[in-house]
Symmetry: C2
Subunit: 465 residues, 2 copies
C-alpha cells in the first residue's frame, strides 16, 4: 500500500515539476546561494558544538548535568540574540545508573566492560548464572516460556554497517524488547552484543522499551570484542558462568525542560517553521554526535537565516529534553502545543550526527510538491538530492509532531560511522568533521529560509496514530 502511495507521489512530482527541473538544470548548475555560501564558511555551529561538549559534556536526563545543559542552552540562545527564549517543563521517571560489574567466572575468568541498558532494573546484588546464547531476538522468542529458568540470556546478533544507518532497525529490538522476552522465558538477566558497528571495547547503552506492560529483567550490553570473546568461549561447549551486579533503577520523577528559542517573523509571526534536536545525551562521551550536532546545526542555521534578514514567518529552535529515555520532551511539546498544531508550517530535525547531507525526504500534502521541487533545486548545489522513495519521518522528536499532522522534511545524512560512536564513551568532539557540519547547516538554513520566507502551505498531513 505504502509503495503505491509513493509511486503515485512520485508520478505527481514528475508531472508537476518536470519542466521546472529541466529548466533549472540548464540555467543554474550548482550555484550556491549567498546564504549557503555564508553557512559553509560560518564557524557558528562548530562553536556551539564545542561549547556544549566542552563546557557541559555528558548530560544524562535527571542528572545535575541535565540542569546544567538547560541553563547552557538558555544562555546560548540569549547570547545569540534570539527574540524570545523560554522553557517548557518535561517530567519523567528518573532512571539512575548505579555500579555496573560483569565478570566471566568459568570456564575462564574475564572482567568485561559493561553498561546497563536505560530503564534496566537492578540485579539486587550479585547474580551468578549460566549463560545461554541466542543468535537473534527471534531465536530467543522461539523458546518455550520458562525454559531459561535461572539462566542469563545472551543475544549475539551483530548490527550491520550501512551508510543510511538502516542496520539499526533490525538490531535494536534485542535492546528494546529483549529484556521483556528474556523475562517471559524465565531468564534472570539479559546480556546483548552492543547495537553498534565499531570494533572498540566500548559497550553501547540505550533504552529498553518503556511501552511494555510486563517487567523486564536486568539488562546490559557488552562491546563487540567482548561479545566475540563470550561467543568463542561458549563455542567450546562447556557451561559458561557469569557474575552480573548492576544497581540501576528508577528513583522518583525529575522535571527538566524543553528550551525553545524564537526568531519572530515579520509578516506572519504566528506561523512557525520548527527545527531542533535533543539537548540530552547519555552519560557516556560528551554526546557530540548525539545530539550536540543537531543542536548546533539547527541553532546556527536559524541564526544565519535571521542574520540575512528577519524572516516573514517565525522560526522556533527546540532543544528537546530527554529524548534518549523515551521522547519525553517531544511528547510534552506535542501535548503543550496540541491546541495550535496548525501554527507549525514545516518541521525538520537534526539527530543523526554531522555526517554529510545527501538527500531530502518529505512528508507534505501533495499540493506542496511543486514547492518541494523548488526547494530541492535550491539544495542541489550542496549535493543534496530529492528522495521520494521514502517519506520523511521527522526523526525522533519532531516525529511526534509529524504523527499528529505537522508536515516535515528530513535531511538524509551519511551515517556510515554514526553507530561506531552512538551511545558510547567514544561520542566526542573529535568525531565531528567541521566541513560536513557546516554543509548540514547550509542545508538546514536553505530549508528554513525557503519555508520561513514564503506563503507555502505544506500541511497538514495525515495523522498516523
Amino acid at each position: 500500500m505504502r509503495l503505491i502511495i509513493f509511486c503515485f507521489t512520485g508520478l505527481l512530482y514528475i508531472l508537476l515539476t518536470g519542466c521546472a527541473t529541466t529548466e533549472v538544470e540548464k540555467d543554474t548548475p550548482l550555484q550556491l546561494s549567498e546564504l549557503q555560501d555564508t553557512a559553509l564558511k560560518s564557524e557558528l555551529a562548530w562553536e556551539i558544538l564545542e561549547s556544549l561538549t566542552t563546557e557541559v559534556g555528558a548530560r544524562m536526563p535527571g542528572t545535575a548535568k541535565d540542569a546544567e545543559a538547560v541553563a547552557w542552552m538558555q544562555s546560548k540562545f540569549k547570547q545569540l540574540g534570539f527574540d524570545k527564549v523560554w522553557l517548557e517543563p518535561v517530567t519523567f521517571p528518573n532512571w539512575v545508573r548505579g555500579k555496573e560489574r560483569l565478570e566471566m567466572l568459568s570456564p575462564f575468568t574475564h572482567v568485561l566492560p559493561v553498561t546497563a541498558l536505560g530503564g534496566s532494573p537492578s540485579t539486587q546484588g550479585e547474580i551468578r548464572a549460566e549463560v545461554q546464547e541466542f543468535k537473534t531476538l527471534k531465536d530467543l522468542q522461539a523458546v518455550a516460556a520458562g525454559s531459561l529458568d535461572g539462566k542469563i540470556a545472551y543475544i549475539s546478533y551483530r548490527m550491520q554497517r550501512q551508510p543510511d544507518g538502516s542496520g539499526y532497525g533490525p538490531a535494536r529490538n534485542a535492546r528494546s524488547l529483549g529484556p521483556f522476552v528474556a523475562a517471559e522465558k524465565g531468564a534472570v538477566a539479559l546480556v546483548i552484543r552492543s547495537i553498534g558497528t565499531d570494533d572498540t571495547r566500548f559497550p553501547h547503552t540505550g533504552s529498553i522499551s518503556g511501552s511494555q506492560s510486563t517487567q523486564p529483567v536486568p539488562a546490559v550490553a557488552i562491546s563487540n570484542p567482548d561479545a566475540d570473546l563470550l561467543s568463542l568461549t561458549l563455542a567450546r561447549g562447556k557451561p559458561v558462568e557469569l557474575l552480573l551486579d548492576i544497581a540501576s533503577g528508577y528513583q522518583g520523577n525529575y522535571t527538566s525542560y524543553n528550551v525553545i528559542a524564537e526568531i519572530t517573523g515579520t509578516r506572519a509571526p504566528h506561523e512557525v517553521v520548527i527545527v531542533g534536536g535533543h539537548l540530552d545525551s547519555w552519560d557516556m562521551g560528551t554526546g557530540a554526535n548525539d545530539d550536540a550536532s543537531g543542536i548546533a546545526i539547527t541553532t546556527a542555521a536559524a541564526r544565519l537565516v535571521a542574520d540575512q534578514q528577519r524572516p516573514q514567518r517565525s522560526i522556533w529552535v527546540v532543544a528537546f529534553a530527554n529524548e534518549e529515555q523515551g521522547l519525553y520532551g517531544a511528547k510534552a511539546f506535542a501535548k503543550a502545543h496540541a491546541h495550535e498544531l496548525d501554527r507549525f508550517v514545516l518541521g525538520n530535525e537534526a539527530d543523526f550526527g554531522a555526517g554529510r547531507a545527501y538527500s531530502l525526504r518529505v512528508n507534505v500534502r501533495s499540493e506542496a510538491l511543486p514547492a518541494i521541487a523548488e526547494l530541492a533545486r535550491q539544495l542541489a548545489p550542496l549535493g543534496i538530492e530529492l528522495d521520494l522513495t521514502r517519506k520523511a519521518s521527522g526523526s525522533a522528536d519532531i516525529g511526534r509532531l509529524r504523527a499528529v499532522g505537522v508536515p516535515v522534511v528530513d535531511v538524509g545524512q551519511d551515517g556510515s560511522k554514526y553507530f561506531d560512536w552512538h551511545h558510547t564513551d567514544n561520542d566526542t568532539l573529535d568525531k565531528i568533521d567541521p566541513e560536513s557540519l557546516a554543509q548540514n547547516v547550509a542545508a538546514r538554513a536553505t530549508i528554513i529560509d525557503f519555508a520561513a520566507n514564503s506563503r507555502i502551505i505544506f500541511g497538514p498531513i495525515a495523522v498516523s496514530k
Copy 2:
C-alpha cells in the same frame, strides 16, 4: 658514524651478493617454498592466539593472571610436542594498580577516563590542583626547578601515525621520563596525552622509566579526545582544577617465569636459533597485539619448521615474563645464559602485533652477509625486502641478547594501526588479521628453517653496552 658503518655494510652487501640476487630474480620469481606455503595455510598461530586471549586474556605481571599465563604457555608447548619445556624464574618488584579517578572540577565538570602509568606511585588520597599545559616534554624540561609548585603538569604532545611505528620514539619520553621531570619542577602529579594514534576514549597505559634515581610524581594518561577536551578548556584562559586519586604502587616482589620450549637439533643440538615474544600484557584488553601475536607467530613458526623435518640445530621459543614493566624476563634470561651466549646462533623476536611483514633488517657479522642475501631471496616471495638502512635491534627482549653480542634479525611489520590499540582495553583478538598473522608465521618459519638447517655463523656482533 653509524651512517658510515651502514654505507659500508650496504656496499659490502652489493659487492658480495649482487650476482646472486640478479640470478635469483631471473630464475625463481616469487616462488613460495613448501614451508611458506604450509605456513600461509596453517591456522596454528590463530589457534594459539585465540586460545591465549580467550582462555587467559589480560595477564599483567604479578597478578593471578601472570601465573595462569605461565601455566597456559607450559601446557601449550607440551601439547604442541616440543621436545623440552622448562621454566626459568624471573623476580621483579610487584607494581599493583589501585583505584583510578580523574575529574575536572572547574571551570567545567567532567569525569575523565584515566589510567595510571606503570610504576606510578599513589597520590595518597585526593589531589586537587591547578593544571598547567606543556606542548612537549622539552617545554616542561625548560621551566625552572620548583616553578610548578603544587600544580599538576600536563603534556599534550600528540603521537604521529607512521607505518613503521616511528612516531612512538618521540612521544614515549613524556611517559617514561615525564614523571621525573615533573617532580623536579615541583609538580604534584603528571597527566599526559596518551602515547597513541587512535581517536578513542581509551587511555593508553605503559611504564615510566625504572632507571632513574629520583622519585617520580604520580602519573596518569588520558585519551586523545580527553586531552583535546582539557586543552580546549585550558585555551579559555581560566584556571583549570583537576582532582586526581590513584592508589597504585609497589607491593613487595613477585616471581614469574620465562617459559622456554626446545626443538632439539640433530647435528648440532647445542647450537640454538632463539625466537620469542613476551607472555605478559597490560591489564587492559586481552593483549592480542601486545604480545599474544608474537607468542603465536614464533611458536607456530618453530612448530611448522620442525613438522617439516627435525632441524640440525636446536630451536628455542622463549615466552618472556614481564616485558612491559622493564624487560625483567629478558634481563633474567640474558643473565641466566650469560655463560653460554655463543650457543645462540641467531635471534628473532615478534613484538609488534600481526601487521604484514615487509622488511628484513639484520645485525650480524659482516661475513654472514652473503648468507643474509640468500635468506632475503627466500623471503622475497612473501613480499619482504632486505633493508640495510637500519640495523636490527632484536626488539625489546631478544634485544638484551643482541646487546651482549648475539646476532639478530628483525622482521619489519606494518604498524600503521598498532598504536591505536597498544596498551589499551582495545587490544583484542578482532584487531588481528588472520592472513597477515599467517604471513608473519611464514616469514619467521623461513628464518628459523634457514638458520637451523645450516652451518652459517652469524655472530658474534659487537657488544653495544
